[in-house]
Symmetry: C2
Subunit: 477 residues, 2 copies
């Protein structure tokens, strides 16, 4: 931003798309995904080395769609695309790229190219690009940066991963309390080095502690002579610089924030976080439960395959252990099974249904814990609620399977046994489904990661034990 005339400088930054808005009908489908035949055309052009054609195809895309295009291509096509569209590789494209895809691309680019991209990026995006590089490559890139950017990025990298310090931008507007609306507008118009992306202005005292914030719409609607102290909101949510990004995302969501001030240990304003940086995190954190519960790690389809195999295999091996424990319960009843093999036919129904019911409770409880809806204050009520659900569903399913078995096999006693086992195992499922995640949460262990293995073991063991045990007690075998 070297222009002296602010209007010109603003003009230069505003994308000028002509009079007609972009028409994306031939590139995007009705769910706003890139059409497969558009991707095929890009692929064909890449294969034929037609770089100009590639450029013409990609040029009209929004940066977020260019990022999507990279993700849809095969790993070996990505660097070829990047080299065909170098000047379209804007900061926005880099910022929107999937972490793994970005990491791979960054590894394939020379340090000075990365530095050139990093300089256009906001600090938070530059940090996201550099944090994955190994120490030596990071130093090589930092050396290419101008001192001011380097200092900003180095200080961000000093904060823990996934903390507010990594996420925040250092470009924000902070002004003193006694300033008037008019003075603020003049200041914003005159100083061209100021941030261009901001939604609130922060008001600070002499020690640079935030004392209030003011949405831009309030400033635009107030007369020039009014002091900022009289329009600002004093109650604001301050984000400590070391706060975990998941916690930051929960605050933004709970208090419907657009931007928030980040403060250091001494309470000084050091950065701002805006909601667009947080939306991805909200989405990722909310979506990861299903993946963690299943033991699929972060479940990113762009992750290198050996990491995926390792993550999933670890979980499967743990589950193999619990499956062996459950099967050893069946082993106790080998004699009974040899005498009456029908027991082996029916036993998976009891254990499997317990597993299903346990997974339901588990999914609900893990979600409620993650969104802070389940706390000490309502845990007892929730346990009672899940108990009643388990009882109602256990009785219904037990009656259903009991009648079916009694009728099909003409054996009312067998029906009574499997029906009772079903009720018992559903209660086990409900209790384990709530107790396991709640206890893990109290122990500060992420319940989404480790609950399922305990709950499945509980329902498998209880399923086999209650059904086979009752069958033996009833004299069926």
């Amino acid at each position: 931003m070297a222009t002296d005339d602010p209007a010109l400088s603003l003009l230069a930054e505003a994308p000028q798309g002509g009079d007609e808005p972009r028409r994306d009908g031939d590139r995007l489908d009705d769910e706003n995904r890139l059409k497969s035949d558009f991707v095929r055309r890009v692929r064909d052009a890449l294969d034929e080395g037609e770089r100009d054609q590639v450029y013409d195809l990609v040029e009209p895309l929004h940066p977020a769609d260019i990022a999507d295009l990279f993700e849809l291509l095969d790993a070996d096509e990505r660097p070829r695309l990047a080299s065909a569209i170098t000047d379209l590789m804007s900061a926005d494209v880099i910022a929107e790229l999937n972490d793994h895809v970005r990491e791979q691309l960054v590894e394939d680019l020379p340090a000075e190219d990365i530095a050139e991209i990093a300089e256009q990026l906001e600090t938070d995006d530059a940090v996201a690009m550099l944090e994955d590089l190994d120490e030596a490559d990071q130093q090589a890139v930092l050396a290419e940066l101008d001192p001011e950017d380097r200092a900003a990025i180095e200080s961000a990298l000093a904060y823990p991963e996934e903390s507010a310090g990594r996420l925040m931008s250092r470009d924000f507007i902070a002004v003193p309390e006694h300033m008037t609306v008019g003075q603020l507008i003049d200041y914003l118009r005159e100083d061209m080095r100021l941030a261009t992306e901001f939604w609130e202005v922060f008001i600070v005292d002499q020690r640079h502690h935030p004392v209030g914030s003011c949405a831009l719409s309030w400033i635009l609607r107030a007369p020039r002579p009014v002091a900022l102290a009289d329009v600002m909101k004093r109650d604001q949510t301050l984000i400590p610089v070391t706060m975990d990004q998941e916690e930051v995302a929960l605050r933004f969501q709970k208090y419907a924030l657009i931007s928030a001030a980040v403060v250091d240990e001494a309470g000084r304003l050091v950065g701002q976080i805006t909601v667009d940086d947080v939306v991805h995190i909200i989405q990722e954190e909310a979506g990861e439960d299903a993946l963690l519960l299943s033991g699929a790690g972060d479940g990113d389809i762009n992750e290198p395959i050996h990491l995926t195999i390792r993550t999933r295999l670890t979980w499967l091996v743990v589950n193999l252990g619990t499956a062996i424990i459950a099967s050893s319960v069946v082993g106790l009843f080998q004699g009974a099974i040899a005498r009456f093999a029908l027991l082996a036919v029916l036993m998976p129904i009891v254990s499997g249904m317990g597993g299903n019911a346990g997974t339901q409770t588990l999914a609900v409880v893990v979600r409620a814990l993650a969104t802070n809806q389940l706390t000490e204050s309502n845990t007892l009520r929730m346990i009672w609620r899940e108990f009643r659900i388990a009882l109602a569903n256990g009785l219904s399913l037990g009656l259903l399977i009991g009648l079916a078995v009694a009728t099909i096999f003409g054996n009312p006693l067998l029906g009574a046994v499997i029906g009772s086992a079903m009720v018992i195992n559903n209660l086990m499922a409900g209790c384990a489904g709530i107790a396991v995640p709640v206890v893990l949460d109290r122990l500060k262990i992420d319940p989404a990661v480790s609950s399922a293995v305990f709950v499945t073991m509980a329902t498998d063991v209880m399923g086999f034990f209650s059904f086979l045990g009752l069958a033996v007690l009833a004299g069926l075998a």
Copy 2:
């Protein structure tokens, strides 16, 4: 907003919290949840009928925390709390309340009270409050509203549920292209009926079609004489009024939007959606996968219990059907099991591990489909990826269990049989885990809702069939 002096009017709206920011240490824990002993103090005061004490306790809370408090209390305590703190029941509290809790509260309040609250709310929040009421109650409330509010709410209710039309606010700023920055600021300062919550100004042509948008920071930084046409961004994401809210949320996320213009079928600007209205949806939609996959419906812990039981039981009954199908496969091998009961002991390991592996793949694929990361363009690559993962994990697990069984039972043939069955079932899990959700997605059926039942059936059937079948082929029984 009847004041003539805009500064005074703004002052009246800005919350004045005194010079010190709120200190929440004794009410909120370190994860920003209400402390259980604070909730207990409110409960005790409610039980003793100490309404003033309840008021004093609740008064310093942020509206979002008051909403949380309602959710943490038992259903019968909520109306008593509401009546003790009537004048704290602001629009923000109502907007933040869980849908089920709000519905219950709204049912307990007389129509004129609801109308009084509805009048303070933005259209979208008022609609959220009224849409759950039955027709007669809705009419009673609408009759109490002033004509302008009633018209806005009625027209919003005419749009489909969960559409952009329900979500949007009708309070937005739309100005003509030829206006200058200075004229816009004067207009905003003078007209007191205008919206106070906005982050962008929309620029429209004579037919009221949006032609561009302008972030407030751009306006504040531009000199007065500059025409809006010269600072506005022409490329903007327009939201059709009938678009589903999930799609709206994906657009906001993909393009990092703060607010967006909503247009009707004729392309006219009819409303705006701001990111704070969308953040809840992003979070809900992303989090619902785990719940839907488990068959727990929307998994809301505040839902009336009979609805929860019905949702979960429906899913369990469907699963009971597939469990019976799987167990009938075991039935084919009853003779073999009677001769060699150890087969019944080991078979749940094969089926169970297949189920675990299938769930992993399923969780990853459902997530990738939901976030538009898996499209036609990369489906083949993903199938190949999942196949290799399934093969690698199947071989590892097969080797592990094969060696264990061969050693423990001194039966190498049995080890070879269970090892091979494990490889086969892992491949089945990988194939079903990706094929089922992809096919359902193509058929426009939500893969999160219905995939798991098919995948589990596939891995159960193949687990039993491959293990018992191979055992018979090998002459083990």
